[in-house]
Amino acid sequence: MKSAVIVFPGSNCDRDIAVTLSKVTGKKPLMIWHNENVIPKGIDLIVLPGGFTYGDYLRSGAIASTSKIISEVKNKANKGVAILGVCNGFQILTESGLLSGILLPNKNLKFICKDVHLRVEENNSVFTKLFKLNEIITIPIAHHDGNYFVTEEELNILKDKNLIALRYCNPSGEVNIDSNPNGSIENIAGVFSSNKRVLGMMPHPERLADIKLGGIEGLKFFEGLLEGFS
């Protein structure tokens, strides 16, 4: 599997993602600066990493979504290349229109950095295929603007087409208000594009991808991708 990581001014999880991808695939990902306008042929996975691009000015991810490289990311998305946006990467994907909805400031207005339980709502995708349906996993979040909002109309589409990837839940898998860390509508933590080739998620799988970091549960996302592209 060949992968690329897009680096924006203010990205700060790009190297964590690169370490994880190198470890899983045995190959270093291509690091692509936001000002480039070409992503080479043969790239199977493009990752938009976490961070605080452009200081979250205007709206989180809004300025980065106007970068030159985003038109190329959109071209690749049209061709079915797998695209993963984590945290700020998710915000950039919604602002660029590749995913529906938007990430608003957390309901309690605090930056939240902690492990959360997530329920895998859909495992029929290149990203989540190694998980069981409704499997409960634990992955860290670290964000100020993770409060997912989407119009009722689009929420219904997400539900009808099984495009909700992950929901915040409690340790026994119940999705309720107490297990919602940031006010996200229906506890949504991650969503797919309509063809399920684009995934945006607030939790950081790359932060739990090495035993030295306390666990390897996040690795499964990348191992699933590797399996699909080898």
Binding site: L58, E95, I102, N106, K107, L109, N147, F149, V150
Partner: protein, 81 residues
């Protein structure tokens, strides 16, 4: 040259925790009569354009392209000489 002011407000039904926090703070100061506060923003744009209609059209394009996210926000454009 004309100046445009873009007023951006959150749509009804969109959670506004900042507005809520401001409301709580004002209530603590004794302003008990507040029913609700919604926080928005405005952006001033000076344009090298004398035709007001053209200016408004340009600013509208800017709003749709970047300044406003219409999933959650409404906007209103005012053109001043």
């Amino acid at each position: 040259m004309v100046k445009a002011i873009v007023y951006i407000s959150l749509k009804n039904g969109v959670l506004d925790p900042e507005g809520k926090a401001i409301q709580n703070a004002l209530t603590n100061f004794g302003f008990q009569e507040i029913n609700e506060i919604r926080k928005g923003k405005f952006i001033e744009i000076e344009l090298n354009e004398n035709n007001k209609l053209k200016a408004k059209d340009k600013v509208d394009k800017m709003c749709r392209k970047l300044l406003v996210n219409t999933v959650i926000e409404n906007y209103n454009i005012e053109i001043i000489d």
